[in-house]
């Protein structure tokens, strides 16, 4: 059904052949093709669509043309993007297929870059028209369109038709002569054109004075002239009409629509007024609305007499009224509220019978027929979820009076899932509370009397629990409660338990297993976590739920790495990628986490180029989704790998991306990444803020496994700050709990850190013992970078251990060889010391504060302006800007613009 609607929206409106030809406009439009953009901006009724549609018919055939007629609902970004891709597919069929098949839909600002990338290869001349662009009110769509225009391939031309100038800055294209504007003064009929229209097209035989009078009264407004012509056609005496019209100072359209209507026979008047409630008209739909059989021929007669109706396809099936006309008709529909609702009820019934469910929902809402609307919404829920039209779904829900909406628990549950998918946990939780309240039973009764609850109450609460667990999945707040609840509800998650609210209960099984895994991981019970994640993968695969399978595999690999089973983790990642690719697509963002884990593994094995490859791949597929859980560790790991390869500039850029994403959403729950950011800043010289953070963190962290990652970073920060005693305290506590929890991967990492701290404390023998122990644990799984990244002090210790290993057969010599021979870069160095990275990637550097002027310049550099442009913007000489830029680079310790911007982001100097 969607395809039929899509077709009508992508249909180029047909052109009447007897139109007044307008050579000067055509000439201007043709000349504009050398630029990127043509803006046709004028109020309703200036013939914008007609002029463009007529022009397209005269273009050389090799230029392919696509058209979108936008509507109010198209401000939902996924929907807008779907139409944009749909339109491009009418001329280049393969465009955006991958993007359309993607669920969930990526945020528009990144999806548009995907699309730009895809259309970049189009060399063929083509043209895309967006009609009624003023109906788009979402700022993100405007931003995306501005980006799109800026990056269109040279052969592509965009035409925007709108009642108001689009709210993005047009001056950059205006200045570069990349934009042609067709405005009201170009579109209005000149006296000559008015004469031609009235006397030839409409065959009215008016005198020059009469034409001049009409032209003056309507100010060349085409819709006005058309309406007037319609009235004149049915008037015997032109003079009477013209005198009355000229003497009235009401709004022209208001006056004229009244005139046109009164000249129609009563049955047509009633047809026009009653069908004005529809956004699209077809013969069959109008018949159902009005209890008549001849609607098709009436619609066709409107089309022939040019009575403000626009065909939407080539089969004379769908039409719509001209927007201006329909507004004025609706105002005149003088029926009682009940009669109006009856019309909407009939329209809803027709749309439901013909499977146009979203339109049926809209009409039953307008009919205040809320029970019907709710039933229809539930019928099309799956479709709405699959096409990511969740804001539309929620918009409907908000139109239903609360009292009624809250009684429909199925609907409440559906909205809870919709909010969850949109990431608004608070709204989602609100819906869950409504369900609990209306059953007068809180979710916690599952813990106490699950066996005695009536099945429908029990099953509803089980679904509430599943949604609630998903809310918490990012930071399990009470892991023990999750485990207890899961144990109670798991037996009911079977296909034999058919009663449910929105999702069948067996479909919740992988969700619950996944959360059991997370809770166990959080509590440091890694063996149990492995089992739960494996079960989540199995159950998820059986249901085809890739959204659980992929993260479960990613967490499984993470737990295995923690356990020190690097080779097993490698297997999990490699097989996982195959599984996810088979279930989703090769570029699915869900693959991101698995690639990042692979990158981390290869990094540990010092296979740096392979590591970089996987990290880049993981970032590439995850970026369109802004998936923080994947991207934040991904950028950091990439920075480390680049630094190990001596590619400092790229390392700083990756760190810049990390900081930027972190700042993107300060409310997000990523404590670990925030801690890592502090550590990063400390390494770059921001010592004071690191000290403040560490001091406050020290008092509130516990060395239980839940916060293990944060405490490790705290210990690292203390080491950077030279606070060895404090670092030791963290490390020892962590070591103790990691050994108890058999997290051997963690133990190795901590033993190396401990050795470093002991060296600082001048306890050399203890340091050596600590390192030897780490080496023994590391030997089987081939850990390298954990040692290498310790820098010079670790190398010294390794040498001493090697001497005791007798003849260099042991693991210490293997690590030392790995350090001295960078096998991937293929370069050997004479002494081992030179190729060892320093413990701190760069010497700590205290950043000298930038002056206000330098900050201004830096901001403009970040916006991508050239020195010359900056000079113009700040009223400075170009040479002065150069000096400022030079000083900025010096203060930041970088070599160029890109580095400066990235570094400034890391240091929070730039937003």
């Amino acid at each position: 059904m969607e395809t039929i609607l899509l077709e009508t929206k992508l249909h180029i409106p047909p052109v009447r052949l007897d139109l007044v030809s307008r050579p000067q406009l055509i000439e201007k439009l043709n000349a504009g093709l050398s630029g990127r953009l043509t803006l046709v901006s004028a109020p309703a009724g200036f013939g914008k669509t007609t002029v463009i549609a007529g022009w397209l018919g005269q273009l050389p055939v090799e230029r392919r043309v696509a058209w979108i007629s936008l509507e109010e609902n198209d401000s939902d970004p996924p929907r807008f993007l779907a139409y944009l891709i749909g339109a491009l597919q009418t001329i280049f069929p393969s465009t955006g297929r991958d993007l359309l098949a993607t669920s969930p839909f990526p945020p528009l600002d990144t999806a548009i870059h995907f699309l730009i990338h895809e259309v970049a290869v189009i060399a063929h001349p083509c043209l895309l028209v967006l009609d009624d662009y003023h109906l788009i009110t979402t700022p993100t769509i405007h931003q995306a369109m501005a980006t799109f225009i800026e990056h269109m391939p040279p052969g592509m031309h965009l035409v925007i038709i709108s009642r108001a100038d689009p709210p993005f800055s047009l001056s950059r294209w205006r200045v570069r002569r990349q934009m042609t504007e067709i405005r009201a003064r170009d579109l209005r009929f000149s006296p000559a054109e008015a004469t031609k229209f009235l006397n030839q097209t409409m065959a009215l035989a008016l005198s020059p004075t009469e034409v001049a009078l009409l032209e003056k009264r309507t100010e060349g407004w085409i819709a006005g002239l058309q309406l007037a012509a319609h009235s004149l056609l049915s008037e015997d005496d032109h003079t009477d009409f013209l005198t009355a019209f000229a003497g009235d100072d009401r709004y022209v359209a208001d006056y004229l629509v009244e005139e046109v209507l009164t000249h129609q026979p009563p049955s047509i008047q009633s047809f026009l007024l009653k069908t004005s409630i529809l956004t699209r008209l077809s013969g069959s739909l109008c018949n159902a609305l009005l209890d008549r059989q001849d609607s098709q021929s009436i619609l066709e007669s409107f089309e022939q007499s040019n009575l403000f109706i626009i065909p939407l396809d080539n089969r004379r099936q769908w039409y719509r009224y001209h927007h201006l006309f329909v507004d004025l008709l609706r105002e005149r529909l003088a029926v009682t509220l009940e009669e109006r609702r009856e019309l909407h009820r009939r329209a809803s019934r027709w749309h439901a019978d013909h499977s146009f469910l979203p339109a049926a929902v809209e009409h039953s809402l307008s009919a205040a027929d809320y029970e019907k609307a709710m039933a229809l919404i539930l019928n099309c829920a799956t479709e709405m979820f699959m096409t990511s039209r969740l804001s539309t779904l929620i918009g409907w829900w908000r139109k239903i009076p609360e009292k009624q909406a809250h009684q429909n628990l199925q609907l409440c549950m559906m909205i809870a899932w919709a909010w969850l998918a949109l990431g608004d946990h608070q709204e989602s939780e609100h819906c869950l509370q409504i369900i609990e309240e209306s059953m007068a039973t809180p979710m916690s009764s599952l813990l106490t009397d699950i066996n005695t609850l009536p099945p429908e109450v029990r099953n509803a609460l089980i679904e509430v629990a599943a949604v609630r667990m998903s809310h918490q999945s990012i930071a399990v707040t009470d892991a023990r409660e999750v485990l207890e609840l899961s144990r109670k509800i798991l037996p009911y998650l079977t296909a034999e338990n058919p009663i449910h609210l929105f999702n069948p209960l067996f479909a919740l099984r992988p969700v619950v297993q996944f959360n059991i895994g997370l809770a166990n991981q959080f509590l440091g019970r890694l063996d149990e976590a492995v089992v739960a994640f494996q079960e989540a993968v199995t159950a998820g695969r059986a249901l085809g739920n890739v959204h659980i399978v992929a993260p479960a595999l990613g967490h499984l690999a993470e737990v295995e790495i923690l356990q020190g089973q690097l080779r097993q983790a490698l297997k999990t990642c490699q097989q996982g990628i195959e599984v996810v690719e088979a279930m989703a697509r090769k570029t699915s963002p869900l693959l991101g986490l698995l690639h990042i884990r692979l990158g981390q593994l290869f990094y540990e094995w010092n296979e740096l180029k392979t590591a970089v490859h996987h990290l880049q791949e993981g970032i590439r597929v995850a970026e369109p989704w802004h998936n923080r859980e994947t991207l934040l560790p991904g950028y950091l790991a990439l920075a480390r790998a680049y630094r190990a390869l001596n590619r400092e500039e790229e390392a700083i850029a990756a760190e810049g991306s990390f900081s930027e994403l972190l700042r993107d959403d300060p409310t997000a729950n990523d404590a670990v990444a925030k801690a890592q950011h502090v550590w990063l800043q400390a390494q770059h010289g921001a010592v004071e803020s690191a000290r403040r953070w560490a001091a406050s963190a020290d008092s509130c962290f516990y060395a239980e496994s839940a916060q293990e990652r944060e405490v490790i970073i705290l210990a690292r920060v203390w080491l950077v700050l030279g606070e060895v005693d404090r670092a030791r305290r963290c490390i020892d506590e962590l070591l103790n709990s990691a050994e108890k929890g058999r997290r051997w991967g963690r133990v190795i990492e901590l033993l190396v850190m401990r050795a470093l701290a002991l060296v600082e404390q001048n306890r050399h023998d203890d340091a050596q013992r600590s390192l030897s122990r780490a080496l023994r644990l590391a030997i089987d799984e081939g850990y390298l970078r954990t040692f290498v990244d310790g820098g010079e002090p670790v190398v010294q210790l390794l040498r001493e251990v090697e001497r005791e290993e007798r003849g260099g057969q042991g693991y210490a010599s293997r690590v030392l060889v790995a350090i001295s021979v960078d096998k991937e870069a293929g370069r050997k160095t004479e002494g081992t010391t030179q190729s060892v990275p320093q413990q701190q990637p760069h010497p700590p550097m205290v950043v000298e504060p930038l002056s206000n002027r330098e900050l201004e310049v830096l901001q403009l550099i970040a916006e991508g302006l050239t020195n010359k442009e900056i000079a113009a913007r700040l009223y400075l000489a170009a040479g002065t800007v150069k000096v400022h830029a030079h000083n900025i680079y010096n203060k930041l310790g970088v070599n160029g613009r890109t580095q400066a911007v990235a570094k400034a982001r890391v240091l929070n100097i730039l937003p």
Partner: protein, 93 residues
């Protein structure tokens, strides 16, 4: 609505006619945001309560351009205080 109240100033403009407009927004625009209105002259004053008021003054091509400008202000989320036609520009001039 029904009673026609005479006004002092003789204001009249056609839909396709250009005019000088004065627009007042509550709040101060950063230099980056000001760049989005580079066709307008920007000045900032303060009302007695210390609230900054930004005034944009300039020639606007026609009604469609005016509505586009208002939409840009809408997208910033700043309160719009006033839109005033200072004088119409004679057509062809």
């Amino acid at each position: 609505m029904n009673e026609i109240i005479p006004i002092e100033k003789d204001l009249h403009i056609a839909v396709d006619q250009s005019g000088i407009y004065r627009i007042k927004i509550q709040g101060r625009l950063s230099s980056g945001i000001q760049g989005r209105f580079d066709e307008m002259m920007v000045s900032v004053e303060q009302n007695p309560a210390g609230v900054p008021i930004t005034t944009l003054t300039g020639q606007i091509a026609d009604q469609a351009a005016l509505h586009g400008l208002v939409a840009r202000i809408r997208d910033l989320g700043l309160p719009l205080l006033l839109v005033e036609l200072v004088r119409p520009i004679e057509q062809g001039g």
